[in-house]
Symmetry: C2
Subunit: 192 residues, 2 copies
């Protein structure tokens, strides 16, 4: 997606060999217009799949999940939680996920009643790196008998194994921008 | 807001004397259409204020902040973070916030460069209970010289002191639904 790629090149900051800081427009400050156009683009790419719901994980996946859901006719969003709350249902699906950004293990949880058996689920997240978050969400879906019809991603790190591993399982991943590497502090992007 | 009040009465669950579980449509599963109409309603109520940005805090404030921002002409959103990341800027505004739901203290943080001095900021959150989160966000704004032009809330617990305390400071709080109490497991709502 050209506009996202331009934003990455203009405002993204490369840190070391593998971290891309895009908190100017994606995951701290949100460029609202861009986020809606990203949702529209993901909706187009999965238009034929008619998901019953969109699954993401808090916190930075929520915005793209919501704009995608809106563009698909206001299907519901479910965001998996990382922290147990005092009002949590005892009947949850859960999976262990290592966060590349936060350098720690998280348990992600979703109330099973919001992932009804047989639902067609589109997973959406802002980033795909090593694939831990997506595989965790796939595990939640497997636990409740939901069908993952695809994965929509804002920025995929093509130099990390997540995308390759999950595509090898036969899952359709659509990424709006693919970073192929970082060279001398410059972010390199794949052609569309 | 009638539609939100109906959702609370239909799907909200009272727990004890002070907790309202609305994870069916607001802060776990999201009713996407309702969330957009809530954003439109908040945008109407603050239409004359022309904020430069909308500030919220992760995670469950993000959806309402984004739909409000969209209805106000795609103004940017900034969501304060609860966890330090490995790529965090050293120049952050921060405040300590006690979470009523999670029963723990959080530090919320925002990169100062995304809260430019003199900005007109609309604070948005899904819930207003004891007011800790909103006061934390007001503290972030004070640290960078931003002006809080108002606070937009999904559900206010009118039986808790947050709204009263913050209104006493002269801040315009608009809440789309006000819960006045819980009686025998029934959620009571204020008239519009």
């Amino acid at each position: 997606m050209r506009e996202l790629k331009q934003a990455i090149l203009q405002d993204g900051i490369a840190i070391g060999n593998d971290i891309i800081k895009v908190d100017m427009f994606l995951n701290h400050r949100i460029d609202t217009g861009l986020m809606f156009r990203m949702g529209e683009e993901l909706a187009k790419r999965f238009a034929g799949e008619k998901p019953d719901l969109i699954l993401t994980v808090e916190a930075s996946g929520i915005a793209l999940a919501l704009t995608t859901a809106h563009a698909m006719g206001d299907v519901p969003v479910l965001f998996a939680k990382k922290a147990a709350t005092v009002v949590q249902s005892p009947d949850v699906a859960q999976a262990s996920v290592y966060s590349f950004t936060h350098k720690r293990e998280n348990i992600i949880r979703a109330d099973k009643k919001y992932l009804p058996q047989g639902s067609r689920v589109l997973i959406v997240d802002d980033f795909l790196s090593d694939g831990q978050a997506c595989q965790g969400m796939m595990a939640l879906c497997a636990q409740t008998g939901c069908q993952v019809i695809g994965i929509g991603i804002g920025i995929e790190k093509g130099f990390m194994p997540g995308g390759k591993n999950i595509r090898a399982m036969g899952v359709n991943i659509q990424s709006l921008a693919v970073v192929t590497g970082i060279e001398d502090g410059k972010i390199l992007l794949a052609d569309d």
